[in-house]
Symmetry: C2
Subunit: 456 residues, 2 copies
């Protein structure tokens, strides 16, 4: 589009007449869009440090870097580390896989799922049985599954507008597919990547063997959506084809790592604690710019904005960068454990862990009264095109955080593109738009400002 | 993010109790997300045809392709072309430009602005005077401008949440900079690209010499934002540096081209016409996937969805792919001219020309009564996260369309990323997300369905 003066305004008629709040939100968004540090921090984390899988060198460096940046920021009363033991899973050599269809060999892109065991050094070769669900395993039974590779190929449902619903519904194949298929004697599982698009990226993510005896563990890998389409098509022509895959991943002993915490002491009620955070660890195929570098730098930005606009919170604000969300959740568990031990009173916690995309609003875990109070602030956010104040999941690292009375929230960015990048090799810095990232930080800061001022 | 079942729902409590409308919108969105053709059409337009600047081979091919696709779709009662004479501007050889700062030479990325004249074959070399606004020219006057290249370097204002406001406010430099600087004896103008980001893409777009005598025309080009930053910095150190640029663009005689129109005849009131469209032409540096391939295929998709859900509109629906929006607006003018000549009664017109990003809503040119009626449908759109029902600009091709009583609307997608791509070499197919494109088409279809059913 072009042609001359384009004059339209998203009219913002606020029914909430707190003009100081309107001004404060304006100052917050203005800071974020004109004077923020988050994009630069993310650039460093992504391009200078790289992936941050728990226990990796990158994770260590990210702890040091974010701690140092929070210290120089001058927005915190103290910055400290919280020790936590985390699992250390290592991918090893790059995985290989192909379809052997008679004489025709077709290479496909796979990656071992986090927590998976390796194949033997020679790899696994077996016939494939394609299924659409875990339930189907039961119907097929040991007779049809034993000795085979189970291929979970149910796509994410494109009909959901909210992409996370489709992720939730298709995710059991990745999380529990290997565990369930092993019970029927499968020798491995291949899982369609949790990605709406057809492309060549395999998407990592954790799998769990649950309480399966160790000797029954079978190797499991994600296959790119293009790879899944090819495999499925070839299986229709030749159900007897063979699939080969090889991976050398392994689990080492748990290692010491850290949650990184910056604390602004409350000026009036310092015993009331408000948490804002993301998770510092990422999967290892890329630098985790959306998942969850974005959430970390946005959380740090909250403190930076408060400093720049001169806002002194009444309650204690903690920016918490959790370790090990992706494959264990040990950072979140440790934070909760110490909070209970120290008798801390958390009144609010927010996590940003859905990507650095244009923010649309929040989902809340809150009692009805608190939710009703918060929902009244919705009009204040209208000028910033924030419109979702829903009840729902907050964030993996805070979901178990309990306190006398606590409201928990998740930032809800636009979800359409998230699964193009999620846990894959293309979750890189160039996939993050600076303005979208900044708008997310401003949106988080604005809600924290309001809750700090008015309570829950 | 990862960890187990993520359960949140954007609750959609509709106060509008037309359950058939709710069902119809659900069917529309479902079709768009599971069974649409628009992404495939765009793939062809972008990757098989390429740029579609008015008068180019690409524009011709796009006319043929979209007409043929509309014919085979089987959704229209007739598909036809509307003749229109359009300007033919040709970029010629790739432009070159550098800063000569003493002995140091720095190449920078530029592109001639659409409609600009060429430099001489040797190029232009001159001292540079940097300004922030057209108004500043007046203050400087002929004395300080004559013989120099004027460098317009006012950035797009990052503080606006709505990116188009910043585009509007910075756009005068591109549209009128050359015309105004010529009056003070400048030998050329260099304009900072209309792009929030710092990158190496020069962004094209039309310039106008207005009623300046032809002999006073001076060449004008856009410089990438990185180039603008470098030039500005070097000018601070050495205001006497020289800038060189060379471009060989030229204007040929107007040529015959076409608007492409598909028409579904209304089942009850066929004389009432509803238009939905985008513009088929694009700038020439890329394939114009967002601007405005997206709008064209979304408009075509409206007819496809109606066919698939079996909806027969009461009023006549015209899908109009306008030619020459970018550098003349002749397609829109011609459509309007023929509408008046044929005494047509348009009740509604909508354009999608703001990119194929996640839709947020609409902006309306409507009388208060019609606007109030339409605004009542807002709740029907909540499940689809559509929340902007604003008054404002509709679209360049329909803005002058007049009728007895007409409502005009523009689709309003999320605007944050648009100017990363707008008129630049990276406005390509890979920058468009399939789901975002489809959601836009569904949103357009839903509004057309409601207006068709209830009137304005």
């Amino acid at each position: 589009m072009k042609r001359i003066a384009i004059l339209f305004l998203f009219t913002s008629v606020s029914t909430f007449s707190q003009s100081t709040d309107e001004e404060q939100l304006k100052a917050i968004y203005n800071q974020a869009l004109t004077n923020s540090k988050c994009y630069g921090w993310l650039d460093h984390m992504s391009n200078k440090i790289g992936h941050r899988l728990s226990g990796s060198t990158g994770a260590e460096k990210a702890v040091e870097y974010t701690k140092a940046q929070m210290e120089v920021l001058g927005a915190f009363d103290k910055v400290y580390l919280q020790e936590v033991m985390v699992p250390k899973w290592i991918r090893g050599e790059k995985e290989t896989a192909y379809i052997q269809n008679g004489k025709k060999k077709t290479d496909v892109a796979i990656c071992a799922l986090g927590g998976s065991v390796a194949t033997s050094k020679k790899g696994v070769t077996a016939e494939v049985i394609e299924v659409q669900s875990l339930k189907e395993l039961e119907t097929l039974g040991t007779e049809k599954i034993k000795g085979k590779i189970v291929f979970f190929n149910r796509p994410m449902n494109p009909a959901n507008v909210e992409a996370f619903l489709s992720y939730r519904d298709a995710g059991d194949q990745r999380r529990s597919g290997a565990k369930e298929a092993a019970k029927y004697g499968a020798v491995g599982t291949i899982v369609r990547s949790l990605n709406f698009r057809l492309d060549d990226f395999p998407h990592a993510g954790a799998t769990s063997y649950g309480d399966l005896p160790k000797e029954q563990y079978i190797p499991t890998a994600a296959i790119s959506t293009n790879g899944a389409e090819i495999l499925s098509k070839q299986l229709k022509d030749n159900p007897g084809l063979k699939f080969f895959f090889k991976q050398s991943c392994y689990q080492e002993a748990d290692v010491l790592s850290y949650n990184v915490i910056g604390e602004i002491k409350g000026s009036k009620t310092p015993d009331n604690i408000m948490v804002v955070g993301g998770h510092l660890d990422s999967w290892d195929l890329a630098d985790g710019s959306h998942d969850d570098g974005a959430g970390c730098v946005q959380s740090m930005e909250v403190a930076s904005i408060f400093k720049n606009i001169g806002y002194k919170p009444k309650n204690t604000i903690r920016v918490v960068l959790f370790m090990n969300e992706e494959n264990g959740g040990k950072g979140g568990d440790k934070y909760q454990e110490l909070s209970l031990k120290n008798n801390e009173n958390h009144i609010f916690a927010m996590e940003s862990d859905s990507g650095g995309f244009t923010p649309r609003g929040f989902s809340f875990e809150a009692d009805d009264k608190s939710y009703a109070k918060i929902a009244k602030w919705k009009s204040l956010f209208e000028p910033y095109l924030i419109h979702v104040f829903a009840k729902g999941h907050s964030g993996s690292d805070i979901q178990d955080l309990s306190s006398k009375r606590i409201v928990k929230a998740g930032l809800r960015p636009d979800s359409q593109r998230y699964f193009d990048y999620h846990h894959a090799a293309n979750d890189t810095f160039d996939a993050v738009n600076k303005r979208e990232l900044e708008l997310g930080a401003a949106t988080m800061t604005s809600l924290i400002y309001l809750i700090d001022k008015y309570g829950i």
